[in-house]
Amino acid sequence: MAEITAPAYRIIPIIPALKPDAMVESKPYVASDKIQEAIGFPGKLADDWQVTHDAVIAKMGELLSKYRSLKVYLDACVHCGACSDKCHYFIGTQDPKNMPVARQDLMRSVYRRYFTLPGKLFPKLVGARDLTKEVLDEWYSYYNQCSECRRCSVFCPYGIDTAEITMAAKEILDSVGYGQKYSNEIIGKVHKIGNNLGLPPPALLDTLEGLEEDVKEDTGIDVRFPLDVKGAEVLLITPSADFFAEPHIDSLIGYAKVFHASGVSWTLSSMASEAGNFGMFIGNYEQLRKIALRVREAALELGVKRIVVGECGHAWRVAYSFWNTLIGVGAGASDPYAIQLQNQLDLRYKQPMHICEFTWDLIERGGLSFDKEANDKHIITFHDSCNVARASRMGDFAGGQFEIPRNIIKACANNFVEMRDGATREQTFCCGGGGGLLTDELLDLRVKGALPRMEALQQVKDSHDVNFMATICAICKAQFTKVLPMYGFDRRVVGGVHQLVSNAIKLGDK
């Protein structure tokens, strides 16, 4: 492969000219039969194309009857093009099939052919086409160039969310033995070992003990990192990258310090040592549920009263939007399955709660004090992570997911600068590595997909000398660490919100 370099910034951020098929060769590795079968999917495509063909159409029919989103979205698009320039992958690659509407059309064309009257009668007229192996390959290529970030859905007059279509496509591909290695291998690991990185419990315990020593050395204070403590008040579910990846680990230290200062007892769980849920990325409800179930089991076993979630974008979406549905973590249930857990949880608190909500609540009640100067070396901006911004909430009002992290930053640091309008809050750009694309063989795509965010960052670097971009997502942190240098930034420009908290929090005088 040729050396991967960053695309040039756009002089004026206008809409790029089309470069058809620029990214048609971009594909992640296909999952091996072992990986596929370990999570209940067929090992590989059937030898006879007709078998695969029929299975794809049957699966599509099944999904159409189970998901209103898919059905409405496939029917409602008017090809207005309002979404066509909104995808970071389109902006970075200029491949027209990375326009959200064109990405949807890869599936819509097949839907029309097999499920609608005009498509059956006049396929050419309505852009319908037969399902062939080439079409399926195209799905594999371009549905693995969507990070399910929902930016397009903000701008569509009908709210059509390409992420829903991408998820359906991945679900169909998995069901016929054409899965993606990266995501499916990780799902296998989470079931087998408890987290996405395959970190076994003894290693986890080791890491946490090491952290206790480090923090003690640093601050002179015994900040604990408890694991599997029965009867703790809070169960913290955090992405496993927080346990050893840089800069993630600094945020983990931040959470521990906040818990220490709050006096609330807390614990991690070795059974559920992962907040990430790649079941969402592959659009498979059973996996989504099964992965989430570990959290339910851990909560019941440890007898905790509250569940708090660490800095992770899609994980917070799953926790906030789906956990109540999937495993009953939340309130307002009337069925015995969910009530069992909801009776155990303390419903005076939000269930689940984001670590930022926890920290901000403490700050508001005067429970934390900061030495803001400790962050003076940083001129900080905030990157809204797509799934937090457009698929979840924090606090009691719509948009709390934007305000609360910013409020925390401003409480513990002096220099804060916003990036340009249209690149933050609900219009934020994805980091370029979400949705199960954070794998090396997709690096070219990831670098190109990061272009709009890098442009916005460069602007505030030029105008305000910004040298730190805070974010609350494990994938964003990993992706930016990798691509920042390719755009000429230092890799340490990216870090967590609780990393800033950790720098400035005063522990001694409490």
Binding site: R68, S69, D75, L125, G159, Q351
Partner: protein, 239 residues
């Protein structure tokens, strides 16, 4: 001829009503297993109603997205709405007073509608991205709508048709008492195209009209932590 047109319109109405009815039923019966409102989203039912109203009447999301499409789309839809209301006078006797009130604006509405359609079509032809995603049916749909507007307007500006006769025909149809339709080529064309539009409505992208009300990213309340939301097929997994 009158009989043929009457039959055509009975058929068109039947197909439109049944086709659309079935689609709405189909959308409604399909479960939405997960809460996926595009956030920030309203946290109450009233808030959702407001959000939906802003989408339907003001095209809020489109406004955020692209002012050109918004402008042309607004002109077309607002024009169309007025024109449709104005046409109520062919189906009501006596004509409702509020319908009579807007009669003078009908012509401008028709022109507005035509201008909006032209704007949309120009974009579709000249903007590379939109040309790329367009199918022949997208162009035909615009052509059809434009032809309806043009034939309608030409009956006002060029060759007047016997509108009293037209009204008698439709009132007759409504009471199953067939009356003659004035013999007029432009009128025939206009009615033919309208019937065609009604016939393809339930099978085409015109489904965006009912679809927007069923879009989970717009019609769901953002309250997942407060209420358990579960689809029947998903609940079965818990057994």
């Amino acid at each position: 001829m009158s009989l043929l047109f009457a039959l055509l319109f009975y058929l068109a109405i039947l197909v439109l009503a049944l086709g659309l009815g079935y689609k709405v039923y189909d959308f409604a019966r399909t479960p939405a297993p997960l809460l996926i409102p595009t956030t920030p989203a309203p946290t109450t039912q009233g808030g959702v109603a407001l959000r939906m109203a802003r989408e339907v009447f003001l095209f809020e999301s489109l406004f955020k997205s692209n002012l050109w499409i918004w402008g042309a789309g607004m002109m077309f839809h607002a024009g169309l709405a007025l024109v449709l209301i104005r046409h109520l006078r062919y189906f009501t006797e006596p004509v409702w007073s509020w319908v009579a009130l807007i009669q003078p604006f009908g012509i401008y509405a028709g022109l507005l509608m035509g201008a909006g359609l032209c704007g949309l079509w120009i974009r579709r032809i000249f903007v590379e991205r939109i040309r790329y995603i367009s199918t022949p049916s997208d162009h035909l749909m615009l052509a059809l709508l434009l032809a309806i507007a043009a034939s309608g307007l030409s009956m006002k500006f060029i060759s007047h048709t016997d509108i009293v006769g037209v009204k008698n025909f439709f009132l007759g149809m409504m009471h199953l008492n067939l009356q003659p339709l004035p013999a007029d080529g432009v009128l025939y064309l206009h009615l033919l195209l309208v019937a065609a539009l009604m016939l393809i409505f339930p099978f085409s992208k015109l489904l965006h009209a009912p679809g927007v009300f069923f879009s989970p990213s717009r019609n769901q309340i953002d309250n997942p932590r407060e209420k358990r939301h579960i689809a029947p097929w998903a609940a079965d997994l818990e057994k």
